[in-house]
Each structure stands twice: as C-alpha cells, then as structure tokens.
C-alpha cells in the first residue's frame, strides 16, 4: 500500500583494514513513517546511515530514494535528494546566532540568498512544525534540546523529506526527550519520513512505527512496532548462537579490596555521566560492567584511575580513601588501568622501550632525574618475551606493531608487576581471535592469582565469558548486579536498553 521512501538492497561495507561492517543488509523505509534502527555498538547502524547520507560509499549494494536509483558522491548529493541528517554531536557554530547558522547551511546549496530570505523561510517552516526558536540568539546560549531543534530546522530548510536522527536522545534530558517525540509526531503528520537510530528499547518502542534490528552487520528482523514488546526486541538485539567457553574455575568470594560509594562523575560536556554508583570489588574476582557504550563506563573507569575528578562520593582501596589521590599514587598502591583506546595507553610515535616504561617512569629514574635506559631496555625485553609481543626491534616505534601486539604490550605493561586491582576497559576491542583469546585467558590467570579485575566491556560475549559477577550500567546507574547465571541474554538486553526487570 505504501510507497517506499528509502530502499537499500544487499548493502555491503568492507573497510580497507578488512573489517566487515555490513554483510548484505536490506533496509526499507515507508514514506511518512517513523522507522527505528536498533542494534548494539558495532552492529552497523551508523555505517548504514552514513552510506545513506552519502558520507561513505558501500562496497556493494543498491540504494533507491523515492523509487529512484542513486549513487551519492557525498552528503551534498544526499541533501539534494531530500535526505537530512542530525548527528549526535551537532554541527553548529556556537558563537554564531541561529539565523547565521541557518544562513551558512543554506548558502552551500543556493548562492545569492539574503539573511531576510532565510529569516522568512525559517519563520514559515517554524510555524508549520510548531517550533519557537529565537533566531537572533547565539547558539551557545541555547539549551541542548533547542540546539537539536535548530539542526532539525536546518534539514527542513534544505527541503529534507527523509530525516535521519543518530541517537538523538542520548544528549537530552527526559523533558527534552518528550519534546522531541512531540516534534517527531508532528513532522510525521506533515508527511516527513524519519529514521530513528537508537539502542534504547523503550524509546524505540514508544515512538516508531516499524523497527529494523541489526546485529553484527546483518538484519535480524523487521517488525511492526505494535506487534512486539521490549523483551522481543532485546532478544533480537543481543541474541547469540554460540559462545566460546574458556576454562574457568569457580571462586569463593574473598574479602573486598575496592569499594565505590555513591560515585558521581561528569563527562567532558559537564553533564552527569555517572550518577551515584556503588560497587564492591573482591580479591580474585572479575566484575563485569555490561552496557552499551556511552552510558558512563568510560567516566567511571577514569574516575577510579584518577584521570577524572569525582563530583561526589568516595573510592576506597583497601579501606583507604583514594578519591583525591593523583593517578601515579594510586598506581603505586597497586591500582592499574588499561584504557579503552591504544592511542591513550601508548604513544604511537615512541619506540617499544619508551612505551614499556610510560606509566611506570618513576621506577626507571636514577639519581637526579636521568632515565636508566639500560634497565628500561631489559624491562621492555622481558615484557615482550613474557607477553608474546612480536617486535622487530625494541627501537621500533609502536605504530608499526599490529593492533594485537600493541594491545599485548599495553596490557602486559599494566599487569607485569601484579597489581592488586586492574580496571580493564574494552581490553580486546578490535583484536583478532587469537589475540582476544590470549588477553582473556591472561585476565583469568590474573584473577586466579588473586587480582581483582573490574572489566568494562560493551562486548556481551566477553562479559559472560569472564565475569564472576555482572553489573549492568545504563545512563550512569547500575540497573542490576548478580551472578552470570542470574541473567539470561534477554534480561541483559532489557537492562542494557534501560528497562527494569524483576
């Protein structure tokens, strides 16, 4: 009955480094509907939409917009066809007024337009969709929700008939979310098609007409929203066929070593990212923090490591308050941190020796302030041997090492002195199977030696495989905590999507 607004057939995307992001995706959106695109991190949602918006090209596949075959060379082609995109991070110039921002985005399409023309057009469209944005206010003075409306207005002024919203609610307060939903319904009434990317089950369930669920670059289902409930969606989103079993002995709970009490931490934008988390980590256990990226995991890890100030709450290491200690003193007390990115944990332009001593420089400084390079070389050599880091020479800059070898070097450096507590953030992110297995069994070995490990990962397989206890984080709060056998995949999926379950 309904016409198709967007039709993507058998779309593949293979990146130059061999990563396969999309494996033959079929994606169709009816004209005038709100279509949800649901999936975990790395499922391929954003890649698919960036292809539709002409930002990246598919390796293979057919794309039709309003029945016409298209071959976008860049976003400008997509804009001309009537596709608009609102990113999670806005592309507005903060020190310009709203009007100036609108003018800027329009001049790239039509030359010789006047500010008055832009004002008239903006007011016309605002009255149609019921916006009331102060056009002469500076963007930086506006609330985030209003800025988002400016972005939507921008796409409408460029005659967008399909608007893609990438995780639009992640930056909004609950009240702003309500306002956004009202806007979306109004836009739908005007005949505009909306693609809503999200991993939040409740929101997708509430606002969309149809939903496509992606998992690992494949479509696992297309459903009418009214036919499914959140449990179905969660199962589709995280459902897994296989998981590898690593040999793991059971542990008996030992005394606690790290305690976090009602911790509040802010993100880079100054918003609360961790909202009152309390956790206890025991010796010889792996506590897995499951959750979708961007729910406060990074801020939690950085606060424990001392890289991010704590707004409220306490962190206790062996009953000693370390909340305000600088990072190197925490390090000395036996707390080490494996960051989620190798570009933070390593300095890629420096060689293997320098990187081996990066976080423990103080152990390699002799009399005065001179560095004992001989001792450092010995240490680097023993690291590479112990942790199977394959290097041509210790003088090779680490940027020439493969990702797996870089990771082994970084993890090896952090665990070499057998710390008491390890905070490991996405320790196997982007690694091949053998390197992943190596790091995972290393973490288990450390656990068996009595080290307490806080494992933060958005990879559910990893969490389920390694954890002795699992805590699910959502929007900076712990939704639930318990043994792995207390959670079914379905339940985990629901919790990660923000749905409370009994």
């Amino acid at each position: 009955m309904s016409e198709l607004a967007v039709e993507m057939r058998n779309v593949w995307k293979v990146y130059p480094d061999g990563t396969i992001a999309l494996r033959g995706v079929d994606f169709t959106v009816n004209k005038g509907e709100i279509h949800g695109l649901l999936g975990e991190n790395g499922a391929g949602k954003t890649t698919l939409m960036r292809i539709l918006y002409g930002e990246i090209r598919p390796s293979k596949g057919l794309i039709k917009v309003f029945g016409k075959r298209v071959n976008f060379k860049g976003p400008w082609d997509a804009v001309k066809t009537g596709i608009g995109m609102v990113y999670q991070h806005f592309s507005l110039i903060p020190s310009f007024t709203v009007l100036e921002n609108l003018y800027l985005s329009l001049t790239s399409l039509k030359r010789n337009i006047s500010l008055d023309y832009v004002r008239k057009l903006a007011e016309e469209i605002m009255s149609k969709v019921g916006f009331d944005i102060p056009l002469d206010a500076k963007v930086e003075d506006l609330a985030i929700g209003v800025q988002q409306r400016v972005e939507i207005l921008k796409t409408l002024m460029r005659d967008a008939r399909v608007i893609i919203l990438d995780e639009p609610t992640s930056v909004l307060t609950p009240i702003e979310v309500e306002e956004l939903f009202k806007t979306l319904t109004r836009l739908k009434k005007l005949g505009i098609t909306i693609i809503f990317i999200s991993h939040k089950l409740k929101e997708v369930k509430r606002v969309t007409d149809r939903i496509t669920v992606l998992r690992r670059g494949k479509v696992v289902g297309v459903v009418n929203t009214k036919d499914v409930n959140e449990v179905d969606l969660a199962r589709m989103m995280v459902g897994r066929e296989v998981f590898l079993k690593l040999k793991k002995t059971l542990v008996s709970p030992k005394e606690s070593i790290l305690a976090i009490e009602n911790l509040w931490v802010r993100d880079d934008r100054g918003l609360d990212a961790v909202r009152g988390i309390s956790l206890i980590l025991r010796k010889g256990e792996i506590l897995g923090i499951a959750g979708i990226q961007g729910n406060g995991q990074k801020e939690l890890a950085e606060a424990i490591a001392g890289l991010r100030p704590v707004i409220k709450g306490r962190i206790l290491l062996e009953n000693e308050d370390i909340t305000n200690l600088p990072p190197y003193l925490r390090y000395r007390k036996g707390l080490s941190y494996i960051p989620d990115s190798r570009s933070i944990g390593l300095i890629l332009d420096l060689n293997v020796v320098s990187n081996s001593i990066l976080t423990r420089l103080r152990d390699f400084v002799g009399r005065g302030t001179s560095i004992l390079w001989g001792k450092a070389r010995e240490f680097a050599g023993s690291l590479t041997r112990r942790f199977n880091v394959i290097v041509e020479s210790l003088n090779t800059p680490v940027k020439y090492l493969s990702g797996g070898n870089q990771q082994k070097l970084m993890v090896g450096r952090e665990v070499a002195t057998l710390p008491k507590v390890i905070v490991a953030s996405e320790p196997t992110h982007g690694l091949d199977v053998s390197a992943t297995e190596y790091i995972r069994s290393l973490l288990i070995k450390l656990r068996d030696m009595g080290v307490a490990i806080l494992l933060i990962s958005s990879d559910l397989d990893e969490i389920l495989q390694l954890s002795d206890r699992i805590a699910v984080i959502y929007e900076g709060r712990i939704m639930a905590i318990g043994k792995p056998q207390d959670f079914t995949l379905e339940k985990l999926g629901l919790l990660m999507g923000g749905v409370k379950v009994e």
Binding site: K13, V14, Y15, P16, I56, R57, P58, S59, A305, L307, P326, P327, Y328, Y331, Y337, P339, S343, I344, G345, L346, I347, L348, D349, L350, S354, L358, T359, L361, V365, G368, T369, S370, I371, W373, E392, S393, L394, N395, T396
Partner: protein
C-alpha cells in the same frame, strides 16, 4: 656498538641507500634550478654558484661562529616544538640574552656570571610566554612575536640612550676584557671558542631531552597529550619546561654573540637581527634533533655567508641570494614531500580498493 647494531636491524641498508640517492638527487635538482635562475637573470651562473656554495668555506672560523648562533636559536625553536609549542620568540630571547649578558659583563667583569645571566634572562622570557599560554590561554605565537618587537626597541633604546660608547656612539660599551671569550688555536688555525662551547650546549640539550624525566615528559606530551595525562605526566608542566629550555638556549645565543664574537651590541642590532628566525629553518631542517641541528646550522651558515659573498662579487641584489638559498633548502625538503605524496596515494588506493 650494540646501539648501532639495533639501529641497523630496524633500518635495512637498502633504505639508507634510497635515502642517500634521494638527497643527492634533490640537491642536484636544487642546484640546477638555482643555476638556471642565475642564467635567466643575466648573472654569471658558474661563478655565482661557486660563491654561493663555496664562499662560506673561505673563512672556516666565521662559518662555524655564525653557525653557533643559529644552532642555539635552532634549539630555542625545536625544544618547545617537541612539547607542541611554536616558539617564534627566539629572536627576542636572543636580544634579551645578549643585553643582559652585556650589562652583567660591564658591571661585574665576570665571564661565567655574564653567560649564565644571559641564559637565565632568555629562560625567564620563555617562562613568561609559557605561563601566559598555560595559565591565561594566550597563544605563544602572538605573545612571542610581540615580545620580539618590544625587546628589539627596548634594547635599541637602552644602547642609544644609556649604554652607548662615547667613542663610537652607534655601539654599546664594550665587554671588558676579563669577560670575553677568546680563541682557541688548533695547529695554527684560530677558532672562536664559542663554537666548541655551543657543542657542549648541544650535548646538554641532547642529554636533557633523551635521558631525563623532563625530556621524556616534553616529548611524550608533545606527541600525545592524552596519553601523557594517562601516564601521570603533565602536558602543561611539559610546556613550561620546554619553553624554559628553549628560552635558555635563545638567551645563550645572544650571550655567546656578545661575549664571544662582537663584544658589543650596535644600535641597530645588526649582529643579531634575524638569527632567531633563521633558527626556525635550522630546527626544521635538522628534524628537531640536537645532532641534526649541528649539521643544519652549519649548512645554513654556509648558504648565508655564500649568499653574501655572491652578492658582493656579482653585484646582485640581496633578494637573489635569498631566493637561491631558498631554492636549495626547498629542494632538500623534496624527498620528504615526495614520501608524503607516495603514502597519500597508497592510502587512496587502499580505500578505493576497499569500497569498489
């Protein structure tokens, strides 16, 4: 020995060969273009090029002394750059170093004190620029350029008004004999002692940068501020250290100039003017490495002196000499540019293969 061995293991011999061929090729290209330019402009190309490239060697002492100053200002630029700062203020740091060491020499007559005072003055200026950047967010390029001019005129004012020599009013009072750096003579070859002294400073810079915690902090912070922070290093502190070191060497450049070469400052600062900026080229050509800077400073010195002698012999305008030096320097940068283009093309090819 083991160091050399591991260096060779990392770098295959054929790679060295390629580099040598590239460098020789680009030098030949640069000389070729320069020669044809001279020909087109109607000067004797053979004589011109011989003077440009050979003129510097007629007086090796002058060649090396001249290299001394830009070697030091080269350090003044390269060390802050390692921490991610653009120190355009080598010029001002050199003036203040020269001025303070002159005044210290006049009032105390103590050589060592004067040298240290000159370096300390440059250090203080570097510290000031870094503090403005770190604590007040003032861009170091702006503040250091403005300070260059402030110090330029301040120095001229003090020399013309207060510290001029009554017998030669366009010059300052001379450095007293007790505070002068003289010559050393090797087999009858007289050399200003400032050149060997500058090599000691180069070694000092090398030691600080590559063998101390401060140097590690500077290099790590410049390459990746995020990683440095993660490792409990402090990128802002690194900026301050780096500017202090850079300023110190800028000040030393001025002090060596006054105490060891001219023994006075003239009222137009002609003996120092422009050397801070030459240091930028020296530092870039030496790839920011202290040892590389030794060679690039001598090379620059050769071109500067050669350009001057060509100018005089051919009666050519100064601009021609500068243009020719520029062509040769640019040609030396060619292998680098060529490698960048190659890697860009390789990346393009990979991407297009990936998506189509």
């Amino acid at each position: 020995m083991s160091k050399l061995g591991s260096l060779l293991r990392g770098w295959r011999l054929s790679e060295y060969l390629v580099i040598i061929i590239e460098v020789c090729g680009s030098i030949a290209l640069g000389i070729g273009i320069a020669t044809s330019l001279l020909y087109v402009l109607g000067f004797d190309p053979g004589k011109g090029m011989a003077l440009l490239l050979g003129g510097g060697f007629t007086d090796p002492d002058y060649l090396l002394s001249r290299a001394t100053f830009i070697m030091m200002t080269g350090l003044a630029f390269s060390i802050p750059l390692m921490a991610g700062l653009f120190n355009i203020g080598g010029e001002g740091q050199m003036y203040v170093g020269g001025l303070v060491s002159l005044l210290t020499a006049i009032y105390t007559g103590n050589l060592l004190l004067a040298l240290i005072a000159g370096g300390a003055a440059g250090l203080a200026l570097g510290l000031f620029i870094a503090a403005l950047r770190v604590y007040r967010g003032v861009n170091e390029v702006i503040s250091s350029i403005m300070l260059n001019w402030t110090l330029y005129y301040l120095t001229i004012y003090l020399i013309t008004n207060t510290f001029y020599d009554p017998l030669a009013p366009h010059e300052s009072i001379k450095v007293p004999l007790s505070a002068r750096l003289g010559f050393i003579s090797i087999n009858g070859f007289k050399l200003h002692v400032i050149f060997p002294i500058s090599l000691v400073f180069i070694l000092l810079a090398y030691y600080v940068l590559y063998h101390t915690k401060i140097g590690f902090e500077i290099r790590a912070s410049g390459l990746s501020p995020k990683a440095a922070k993660y490792a409990s290093l402090n990128p802002e502190r690194a900026m301050i250290y780096a500017m202090c070191l850079g300023g110190f060497f800028g000040g030393v450049a001025g002090a060596l100039n006054v105490l060891g070469f001219t023994y006075y400052i003239d009222t137009l600062l002609t003996t120092m003017y422009g050397m801070g900026f030459d240091g930028i080229g020296v530092a870039l050509m030496g790839r920011g490495h202290p040892i590389g800077i030794v060679f690039s400073s001598i090379f620059f010195s050769m071109l500067i002196i050669g350009g001057q002698s060509m100018q005089m012999a051919l009666n050519a305008p100064k601009e021609v000499a500068d243009a020719l030096s520029g062509i040769i320097i640019m040609a030396l940068a060619l292998p680098y540019a060529y490698r960048m283009v190659l890697s860009y093309l390789r990346a393009r090819r990979l991407i297009s293969r990936g998506s189509y």
